[in-house]
Amino acid sequence: MSDTNLPSGPNVTLKLDRDGIIKRAFMAVIALYLIVALALPLYAMLSKSFVTYSFDLDRYEFQVSDDAGTFGPAQSAAAINEQLAVFSDGQLRTSSDGRLSATALFPDFSFRSSLKYRMRGTEEDAPYLVGLDLQNTTEWQEYDSNTFRRINLRPVKSVGVQNYFEYFSNPAMFSSIQNSVFIALVSTVLTVGAAFGFAYALNRSVMRFKGFFKLVAMMPILVPSLLPGIALIYLFGNQGMLKSVLMGHSIYGPIGIVIGSVFFTFPHAMLIISTALSIADQRQYEAAESLRASRWRTFWTVTIPGARYGLISAAFVTFTLVITDFGLPKVIGGQYNVLAIDIYKQVIGQQNFEMGAVVSVILLIPAVLAFIVDRQVQKKQVSLLSARSVPYQPKVNKQFDMLCLLWCGAMAMFIVGLILVCQYAALVQFWPYDLSLSLKNYDFNRTDGGGWAAYTNSIKLALMTAVFGTVIVFTGAYMVEKIDGLKAGRGVFQFLAMLPMAVPGMVLGLAYIFFFNDPANPLNAIYGTMTILVVSTVTHFYTVGHLTALTALKQIDGEFEPVASSLRQPFYRLFVRVTVPVCLPAILDISIYLFVNAMTTVSAVVFLYSTHTALASVAVLNMDDAGDIAPAAAMGMMIFYTNAGARLLHMLASRRILRKTQSWRGR
């Protein structure tokens, strides 16, 4: 807009404007972060999944001599193929490593004959191999028949949906989808059931040891998801302590994956359901009682409907966690193929990046669906508590409390038991032939995986993720919540912040390879460094931190900003002096969440670490892969103790800080 028509007057809102500019600049920086660290890599992966390879017979021309050495007319490979129908279109489709023997086009070919062959490319890019030497020329090349038999055509790149067709027509790959969905469904039902019982006991009974049970229930969060797999091998493997319990069934396969999945998803489901159950209105139960409803009836008509959103949410979270998990099926899946394993096999085993990208895209679908449904359900959630509600007070009921105690006791045994087995596994000299205890397995420098350096790297990564991640996440949430105007921008930002929840770690990791390893990318330099690990980890766990920060920020009255600006205080002063101190508990929560997850994550970083940035969690995977199960258990337990220590520190620190900064809450 030009202001030449208006007389220029003093700009009275200069201060505010500059404030607005800074705010917007901040938001732009963090939005840019999300675009670079999330949107662009995912786009790069999507486009990779459409890169196809096929042999283009139009690009090659052949000439064959007669016995006297005079060459006949040149014929294109496509023309020969049309005449003889050697290759079908399907056979001409291949992967980046495909090879097509040229002699197949000459049915009379014999490597002993004295015939000579000439070939050339008819356009610039017509690659072929003589033995293993790559040729790419439009000049005629002459070969004797013994050399000609060593000629293989190489595929050329194009773009199309062919990879997807191939994927769905491959029964092995297609069965992975069924397996993944089956495992995820069974685990979800079991986990949600177990977690509901546990949460119900915590909230609706007056059993003893509630504090202890709460602590135990959170323990699985502190270990990598593949650790329960190792414990299960020691318990139920072919040399397992309790092998007979399985009655001849193998722990390697769906049984093992499901038990392990229940273990590592339990705390997530328990937390969500517990929150849902903790909000209940005493008056509804009193009403039910006065209507003479049986306890059973009350349970189904009052308790379950009250907790249904929590249950649905827990189910989706569990489903997504299981279907995207990679460590557990790798350790204990045996021959049971699942999607996450397929990605690894395609990329690491066969260097077929395109197919890896296709599987990633497919893995993205259930996760995104679960995420969308969950969002819809969340929107419908209405407040259960009104100002007049009376919090539910559980009454003593000896029989019921005993039952609760038994259930929680059983779950606690399950969780602590698996962790203890791991600790035992880590200490045994040579299972099962030498059961004496030693610290030999802690000598990580003797095994693959990166040694003790990997452990220090993990702590470095966890600290950096906690610090930088908290700053980025909290500032981002602040900009979304407290900025005025720019509604569309905030909407996009909010979407980007929620997206990581639906992106499996593996998919993110693979997307990072495609995006950051591209030499044309100016950010290429961070490939293989600690920076890319920090960026990927922060991005992978962005959403939960973002939601935590939003919840905390919503508690702060929106009047603070206008008051501050009317007092001519820049927003950052308000941010530092008021917002941050008030939200400190949430900030601490975000940082410990990021720390713990950075210590245990495998899926996002397994494609991204390099020798100098090997990580403890990946070391667990690699040691198990190489058959060094005991050192893998030892490293897993190191992660557990580190996280437990960090949690403890966090508890002490937040108690101190809360006493200092949150005294206003107590009024």
Partner: protein
Amino acid sequence: MTKTSILCMTVAASALFANAALAETELTVYTSVEAEDLARYAETFNQDHPDIKINWVRDSTGVITAKLLAEKNNPQADVVWGLAATSLLVLKAEDMLAPYAPAGLDKLSANFKDSDTPPSWVGMDAWVAAICYNTVEGGKLGMTAPTSWMDLTKPEYAGHVVMPNPASSGTGFLDVSSWLQIFGEDKGWEYMDGLHANIAAYTHSGSKPCKMAAAGETVIGVSFAFRGAKSKAEGAPIDIIVPSEGVGWDMEATAIIAGTAEEEAAKTLLDWTITPKAMEMYNVGYAVVGIPGIAKPVEHFPEGITEAMIDNDFEWAANNRTKILEEWTKRYDTKSEPKG
């Protein structure tokens, strides 16, 4: 905005891994040599060439190959020292290797170098397929030890054989390609059909089957001799069996990556990797090395394994890899239910 922030991030990133400038030459060397051997290799090399510093990038064969291919247009490595020859052949077919004839090339066994002149890669040592057989668990089940590949298809071993998946393990591919060469294509697939009926699991790594046999998790592990010897030295009750039909093998090899900025240092390193001194260094773990007559017997290594090595056609294996893996996956990977 975009530019400056990208610049900031790049600067921050490069600061993270920038080392202080050193007077010596540094070589980025990709490898899949066992972790515990790396420091010893670099140390021994530095005794002769203290002015060249080696920066190792180590991972399993599959990962390193994937990494090299992914970086094809922007190679980060100067030299590959200690990677499966079959992987180097894949790189050669992508035109990623710089041919170079290192000093002392003529001393190497003929099958330990690329057939082109100058060769694109030179071999160091061989790792050889073998069967790890747990005598304790085998005894409990009243089995007799197998002596040949064919034996593994006997019904008595049903559910007690573990082998690496050729689609994810170099050792697994080595086994499959050697069977196809030993038995011929049709008979080879027939053999694998029979073997498949006995397989308890296909693992993703080549050493795991032997470690599983060592821990009694399975009775028979199809793996490689070097791994078996190590487990045996640790006290595992296993026998390392060389099947009578002959065994497949692959070698660890060395090559210069085309386009390296440190060509002189890379050549110096390549020269050194095939010196007798280097061969003696490889011999600590590997019983078969590139220069004939140097290798001393390695403890627990089965006898007669050198003689049992088949005449491996690497070019055939490399050029048919995709086809073989496709066929293998179609035949055996569809099995979704694990065996009980």
